[in-house]
């Protein structure tokens, strides 16, 4: 009898301890990065976020270009991927004929399985030349957007535009998967109520499905944003890794993640390392908030509604 309860207790301890590892790890990550990055934050204060001067030799570190690049590339990626993902989700849930649904769903899932470095490889050798040779001239000359600040300047090899496009492809399957689940969760009775009122399928979606699923869909978008903010390898391979803030999407830039990836191994001074750690901390806090918010929103639609 004693043996039994001893084994039971050991089992309970093992599983509880294993579960507790997760919040412990989260806490440790915050603490470790905060400790490592503190010297830089203390030295530069708010100018760490606002200054663009990044000069390891002179000991000046301002992360503004990286922050700017992260926000711009992610926002643009979301702008491109969001509607596409919603369209795919609607296709899969509402319109796809049975035989087409599985293959398309599978194809979208495969996109999520491709490692970041493979995206980057493809980005360097296929996407970037494509952009430089066809897309950028098209935007600048044919569409005459070359005079607008967004598309001005020469077509560089690596660019913010390339990064945004690669990010869009990478986050699309995540947004689509969540949107699909959320749309499927809309009760059949709601759809029937709309159809019985004499609605076309689109009107049913517009009036009954989308409003009902709204918060979950927003959660899906936030999840995609969270992914885009932290994406490293593919971005660092196509964005150019330049500490600059440029209005033009054709110009190279930086993101927080690619900055760390690019400079960390060669960081010599402790202040340099600390600055990169501080950037990591910023990235951690940002993605944590976005992911937590996304998770909460998606959870909300999971609960039944009146």
């Amino acid at each position: 009898m004693n043996n039994r309860s001893g084994a039971d207790r050991a089992y309970a301890v093992f599983t509880t301890a294993s579960a507790a590892v997760i919040p412990i790890v989260v806490g440790l990550v915050f603490i470790a990065l905060a400790i490592a990055g503190w010297p830089a934050l203390r030295q530069f204060g708010t100018s760490f976020i606002t200054s663009s001067a990044w000069d390891p030799v002179a000991g000046q570190f301002g992360a503004a270009p990286a922050i700017y690049g992260t926000l711009v590339s992610s926002a643009l990626a979301l702008l491109i991927a969001g509607p596409l993902a919603l369209g795919v989700a609607l296709f899969l849930v509402e319109f796809a004929p049975g035989w087409l649904r599985e293959p398309v769903a599978f194809a979208v899932e495969l996109l999520a399985a491709i490692p970041s470095v493979v995206y980057g490889l493809w980005g360097i050798f296929v996407l970037v030349p494509l952009l430089r040779r066809y897309v950028m001239p098209f935007l600048a000359d044919t569409l005459h957007l070359g005079n607008t600040p967004l598309f001005s300047g020469p077509a560089y090899v690596t660019s913010m535009l390339a990064a945004a496009l690669i990010l869009a492809i990478m986050i699309l399957p995540y947004i689509s998967a969540v949107s699909r689940e959320v749309l499927r969760a809309v009760p059949r009775s709601q759809r029937e109520a709309a159809l019985a009122l004499g609605a076309t399928r689109w009107e049913m979606i517009r009036d009954a499905v989308l409003p009902y699923a709204r918060s979950g869909l927003v959660g899906g978008l936030m999840l995609g944003l969270g992914r885009a903010l932290g994406e490293t390898m593919a971005v660092t391979m196509v964005i150019g890794n330049q500490h600059q803030i440029s209005a033009s999407l054709f110009a190279p830039g930086y993101t927080m993640a690619s900055l760390i990836a690019n400079e960390f191994s060669e960081a010599t001074t402790p202040l340099h390392v600390a600055s990169l750690m501080a950037v990591g901390l910023l990235l951690l806090v940002t993605t944590f908030i976005v992911n937590a918010g996304a998770r909460w929103l998606v959870w909300q639609t999971g609960r039944s509604r009146a």
Partner: protein, 270 residues
Amino acid sequence: MIPPIEGVAAAVLASAAEPRVQVKDLHAFYGETAIVRGVNLEFRDESVTAIVGPSGCGKSTFLRCLNRMHETVPTAHVTGAVWLDGKDIYGPDEWVVDVRRRIGMVFQRPTPFPTMTVAQNVAAGLRGDITRRSNRRERDAIVRRALERAALWVEVKDRLNQSASALSGGQQQRLCIARALATEPEVLLLDEPTASLDPRSTQKVEELLYELRSQITVVIVTHNLQQAARVSDRSVFFLDGSVIEAGPTDELFTRPRDERTEAYVTGRFG
């Protein structure tokens, strides 16, 4: 209480009205399985017809064939014809969306749209120019009229801009009835509309159905025989997907011709 319509008066009423809906040899399938077999029925204008029968007998499926909701299920299909004012709703020229505007439906559980207000819910079925912002006053008038017909106006007139989810269950169901009535359908179908309501709300719904009898064609599926007796002029007894008997309600209940009908209305099964 609602007085049931008695003998001669019922016959006079019944024969005076024209058949609005005619069902000819209707079969309904899910894949290969036939749920509704060879139904021939008529529904008169300005009348309430109750469809009764034990659970699983196909009465709900039959009802859903009347406004082409049956075909929203992937493997479902229908053979036969359903004529509304002489035109087959399954005809090649008919747009199913239009059919459903002319034949409204209320479901067993209230299904207000939770993100819309009371007024928005009632107006949800309106299409066309009436939905333009400039036609707001006309729209409000339609909403009011529909709510009055559904005996809900007085209770919600100060709450039109509140969420529809704030209403009670009985009010929500009447809201759904108002929503269906707002498009001025010629026929209203109700599938066990009071099954999930409390007795007081049930009574209110039955009263409003009694009022509607003089305005449009109402077909109500119910498993509650007393309700059928209270609300309807004519009744149809369904069993295993077929019509066993149809006739004036009081005749069906007090002097049924078929022994299976008698067994059901006297409570021996079902």
